[in-house]
């Protein structure tokens, strides 16, 4: 791509400054300006002659910019990507293989289960950054209104869905939202989405059908709305903070949204561990730091990515906002269970106790789209669960064979 297009444009090539690094993050400014700028300054100080240009981007348009930059030979050096985008970029050969290029020492600081989430075929392609193991937030007032005990939230997902049905019936409000993403839900129920080499679909199994059927039944029994098939977490947060939904299943960083936009709900907020499935796996959105293969300063870029995600810096970040570090040492810090009073403090401790069980079960974007489509088809009654998964299997295999 790059070379052909450059040849076609056929003008003079710009000179790249070797010691300049460009780092992209996703929607962190302005809230975390001080924190990120502090890290950038520190990195520049310890690496004389190096300048880091920090660019913070909104989500909409991020893929366009990523593609255009690499195509134009203006690749950024360090990029913050969520796991499915990271896997898609990896599938296109756009990322540096960190198992080869990073040092043992650099890789050793992260949790193995998180490195696994960012690996393809056994090789690591991203440093995990902050993670957000999911917790359960619930509205005690709505629990009471529905005749449920506000001090005993659901411990299993099965129970949670049952409660959701009770709540919907009693209050005409939403019971639980959002449902775990389909690709997550499969793994939580013991189904691998792809085979080990990642070359073929592995999700057309009786277990997968049973897992999907749980969602289908939930819609049918009115335990969740048909809107649940959209898996829209932003809407779920809005509903919950607006007192329109009794349970919210997301990372605890959104406690602050509830506090600012839904103070009455916040006054009745309960925090509990994620309702278990049989595997005990907890869904966990991870933000990653990757180094594009087209970076002109790969070693230094890896160093920066590693620096941004190291123990000390993640611990500092986690103190600013309820997220959880992806590094082993930082996660051990007594800080995470030091505060049992505040809701955020409780959430932190719940996360600390779930270390090792939180996986980001993402798959590459195009595969993810197909699986979500299959789930929606079954949940909205367009196809049977079995049929939907079988069709998706065919399509996914086509995608992977390209």
């Amino acid at each position: 791509m790059k070379r052909t297009l450059l040849a076609l444009v056929a003008l003079s090539a710009p000179l790249a400054l070797a010691q300049e690094l460009e780092m992209w993050t996703l929607a962190l400014s302005p809230t975390f300006d001080d924190y990120i700028n502090g890290l950038v300054a520190e990195f520049e100080e310890t690496h004389s002659g190096v300048t880091v240009n920090w660019v913070d981007l909104p989500d909409g348009g991020f893929p366009d910019r990523f593609f255009a930059s690499i195509a134009a030979g203006q690749a950024p050096d360090v990029v913050n990507l969520n796991t499915s985008r990271m896997l898609q970029a990896q599938a296109e050969g756009a990322l540096v293989n960190l198992s080869e290029q990073a040092t043992e020492e650099q890789l050793s600081i992260y949790f193995e289960n998180l490195l696994e989430s960012s690996s393809v075929g056994g090789d690591v392609y991203a440093f995990p950054w902050y993670q957000a193991p999911t917790v359960l937030m619930y509205n005690k007032a709505l629990f009471e209104q529905a005749g449920l005990d506000p001090e005993t939230p659901a411990e299993t997902y099965e129970a949670a869905l049952e409660m959701a049905g009770t709540i919907r019936e009693a209050t005409l409000l939403e019971g639980i939202a959002p449902l775990p993403f389909p690709e997550d839900w499969l793994v939580q129920n013991g189904v691998s989405v792809l085979d080990e080499e990642g070359t073929e679909a592995a999700f057309n199994t009786p277990e997968a059908v049973a897992a999907l059927q749980v969602y289908v039944d939930a819609v049918e029994n009115r335990a969740v709305s048909r809107e649940a098939a959209n898996f829209d977490y932003e809407k779920a947060i809005r509903d919950f903070a607006g007192g329109q939904s009794a349970m919210l299943v997301t990372g605890p960083q959104f406690i602050r949204t509830v506090e600012s936009d839904g103070p009455e709900v916040y006054a009745n907020l309960g925090i509990a561990p994620y309702p278990q499935t049989e595997t005990g796996i907890i869904p966990n959105a991870i933000q990653n730091m990757v180094v594009p293969a087209a970076s002109d300063n790969i070693d230094l870029a890896i160093e920066l990515a590693n620096f941004m995600t190291n123990d000390a810096n993640q611990l500092a970040f986690a103190k600013l906002v309820p997220i959880f570090p992806s590094t082993k040492e930082a996660a051990q810090d007594p800080y995470f269970c030091s505060d049992q009073e505040s809701l955020e403090g409780q959430a932190r401790c719940i996360q600390a106790n779930s270390v090792g069980r939180g996986f980001d079960n993402q798959v590459r974007q195009d595969v993810k789209d197909e699986i979500r489509k299959a789930f929606a088809e079954a949940m909205l009654g367009q196809k049977g669960a079995e049929q939907a998964l079988a069709d998706a299997e065919t399509t996914v295999n086509q995608i992977l064979s390209r």
Binding site: D56, P58, A71, T257
Partner: protein
């Protein structure tokens, strides 16, 4: 059609006429509610605080009135900077479009030169061809021109649109030939003729271009997002979008306030210029 209220109307009450008027206004109000409703709701949300922001059924009016979200947005973001950036991009974008459509439109309408029809055909044909993928190639071009991370780079690919060239061409076509001949008799050369005689006559069309481009440039999102690197150069649209899909924070009151701030200048511009805007279109589309 378009009859001004007659003097008799002012003196004598006409019940039938009154009923028609009532109906007319009722209809206008219904349409207005549909058109403005979403914006008003956004405005109302931005002025609410606490639980009211997301409560359901929504309260129509903010009570108590709270400017908290505006204060928050203004403090957290460097809003004056973003407003200035957007203003600069808009200013240069509008200016470029005015200059280019006024020159190209003039030549295409009133000068016979070899290749004219091909030029016109080429320009208009781009209207129908797909352009979603253009951004990639255009970005490469900007890299080659060393214009990445500059306002020039943001404005350049948006410096002219087909519709504007077309509009001005049509406007120039309607100018009577006699005016031109008279000016020539006085010995005016082509440039003087264009600048002194022709341009003043297409003022309404130029105002139309101003409004259309003001809106387009003010709301420009995807392209500046790709071209600009420094947060300090971001326009409002990009800066605001970072608030809306936050992995780490979502504050709906602030989102509403920031969006309202970004819309007000465009609404004001239209309110002030709308009369000329329509006049300009009227003069140019006539076939």
């Amino acid at each position: 059609m378009a009859a001004p209220p007659s003097p008799q109307y002012a003196r004598r009450f006409n019940p039938r006429r009154f009923a028609v008027m009532l109906l007319l206004y009722a209809l206008l109000v219904v349409f207005a509610v549909v058109a403005v409703g979403p914006f008003l709701w956004l405005l109302s949300t931005s002025l609410k605080s606490g639980q009211d922001i997301l409560s359901y059924p929504p309260k129509l009016l903010p009570n108590p009135l709270s400017f908290e979200s505006y204060v928050d947005v203004w403090r957290a973001q460097n809003m004056p900077r973003f407003l200035l950036n957007t203003t600069l991009i808009t200013f240069w974008g509008v200016l470029a479009n005015l200059a280019l459509s006024a020159t190209a439109g003039y030549a295409l309408a009133r000068i016979r030169f070899p290749g004219r029809d091909i030029v016109f055909f080429l320009i208009v044909s781009t209207l129908v061809l797909p352009n979603t993928l253009n951004i990639v190639v255009n970005f490469i071009t900007l890299v080659e021109l060393n214009l990445v991370n500059t306002f020039t780079g943001v404005v350049l690919p948006n410096a002219i649109t087909v519709f504007n060239v077309f509009l001005l061409r049509q406007a120039f076509l309607t100018i009577p030939r006699e005016l031109e001949d008279a000016a020539r008799m006085d010995g005016a050369n082509e440039f003087v003729l264009w600048w002194r005689v022709m341009l003043p006559l297409v003022k309404p069309a130029l105002l139309t271009v101003t409004i259309l481009e003001f809106v387009a440039m003010w709301n420009l999102y995807q392209w500046p997002l790709i071209v600009l690197n420094d947060t300090d150069k971001f326009p409002l649209s990009v800066a605001i979008a970072r608030l809306t899909v936050g992995e780490l924070s979502l504050d709906f009151g602030n989102i509403a306030a920031a969006t309202v701030i970004s819309m007000i200048p465009v609404i004001l511009i239209f309110l002030v210029l709308q009369r000329y805007f329509i006049e300009g279109l009227a003069g140019s589309v006539k076939g």
